[in-house]
Symmetry: C2
Subunit: 299 residues, 2 copies
């Protein structure tokens, strides 16, 4: 019941003083900081960029701010980072990968705030989960290789847990082990070149290589072409992730497509729903994957 004139004067004051509501103060009383913490191994891991971007965007649209933390690949650091992030009272947490540390799992569970593990699936989520089975990815690649008649297979892989699981899935379907070149994170074109050199030392007659990222695959392709190998006739190459360049390389790259942006959007939707007190019908979402066949394995 305020007169229009007063409303106008208030608006005027807001304009001239440049007033912003202080969300910190609001959050203190309402116990809702309107922030969501996200933990990624490193910002520069290309793999997760679409997810982080979609998370930021979707959360922003819902009035939330993403608080990004780099855990590194160090477990001690991860826990320290977690503590400082909790000090900012986030309303939810999104982590890339599974939470393995038992202590951390227990603490996350007790906090009672929504937690989403992404980019993986397991049968014991801390809370919610949006991802796909890396074991099945490995199996699918092995099946694809076998169907094409390739028996001399090589693996160029990063050393993180998810890449290791894909490798396990591949070996399980093959029923045997194969030459493997391990590269440290973050994977890159340069490491892919080195990995192929390594694999060709282990088995000079290798027919097909699976790489744990498209960056590695690009390096494997580069090195193969530099050595005069024809792709796919002499060497077939399959990547993982369907990076933006995969379809446009020469030759185009067969890879595993995963919708990273959808993972981010879904994780945001789950967290926001829970923050609003809605009950989430499906707290574990399998986003699936598919092999995109291109010229690096088929001419």
């Amino acid at each position: 019941m305020v007169s229009d004139k007063t409303i106008a004067r208030v608006r005027q004051a807001v304009e001239t003083t440049g007033y912003f509501p202080n969300l910190l103060a609001g959050g203190l009383k309402s116990r809702r900081s309107m922030t969501v913490a996200a933990l990624v191994p490193a910002i520069s891991v290309q793999q997760f960029l679409p997810t982080v971007e979609a998370l930021t965007e979707s959360l922003h649209a819902a009035g939330y701010q993403l608080i990004l933390g780099q855990s590194g690949y160090d477990h001690a650091r991860e826990e320290a980072l977690f503590n400082t992030m909790m000090s900012r009272q986030p309303d939810g947490i999104v982590v890339t990968g599974l939470v393995h540390s038992a202590a951390l799992r227990e603490r996350l569970g007790r906090l009672g705030i929504p937690v989403v593990e992404t980019w993986d699936l397991s049968d014991r989520p801390v809370d919610m989960m949006v991802g796909f089975s890396h074991l099945l990815v490995g199996g699918a690649i092995a099946g694809y290789f076998l169907a094409r008649g390739w028996r001399r297979i090589g693996i160029a892989t990063g050393d993180d847990a998810r890449a290791a699981t894909r490798r396990e899935g591949l070996l399980a379907t093959l029923g045997r082990t194969v030459p493997t070149a391990y590269v440290p994170a973050p994977s890159s074109l340069a490491l892919g070149r080195r990995a192929l050199a390594d694999l060709l030392t282990q088995d000079p007659e290798i027919e097909a290589v699976y790489c744990s990222s498209d960056q590695l695959a690009q390096g494997v392709v580069t090195e193969a072409l530099a050595r005069g190998l024809r792709i796919p006739q002499d060497l077939a190459v399959c990547g993982f992730g369907d990076a933006d360049f995969a379809a446009h390389m020469e030759p185009s790259l067969t890879t595993v497509q995963v919708d990273g942006a959808a993972i981010g959007r879904t994780a945001a939707a789950l967290v926001v729903a829970r923050c609003r007190g809605e009950t989430v019908a499906a707290p574990v979402v399998n986003m699936g994957f598919r092999i995109v066949e291109r010229r690096s394995t088929a001419d």
Copy 2:
């Protein structure tokens, strides 16, 4: 003057209840949120990843948390985002690129908190600045091309302000205009292939191409090789940014090296110093750049 026993009991209580100091509450009284806002056009812009990563890392080490916002390439959105970020009371602001909007410049200036503009230089900083001259980059590339005797030059460039300035610098040194293919952000290998196709339509005899990013350059190289052109004999290619793959492509890519991580570290140091009330001796830091000659322009 508390007994050791009591200290032990307090520690015990902290452990069992899982106490975290509430930084929101602390920030309310102390008027220091211990956060720094960063505005990037988009998280997925490869260019800025090392900067964002170093910023996050350096700020974290100083006790600050980076609050990342994606302004998009839309000016209206940028201002809206800016408002919501200010509501969280950041102690400082880092922006990629210059702040062009007069209204925004004025408001940032009045806020009285440290502001760092990065990845560019100008003679009228809002506050502090860490970057390099894109005009000089363009000039240096033109000089390099001229020294090699190339006259039929092409440009494949993104449509952002900094890329436009580099192009201007190049044209200014050449003293004339040259065929240009414009691509929308974010630039990619695919867009680079299209850009070269476009340039070859404009001038089939083109000798050298400058690209506004290494991703574009990779696409130009890919397209050139696919068309049977030899690099650098038939077509020389220069990129910008020195991405991780540039040195390891086949052929390796001549490009402009900029230390993005150092920009992030320096910006963090400037903001933190000012937050601590120290006076910053050099508020405008020129990080420079250098052309790294590789095989795409020299055999």
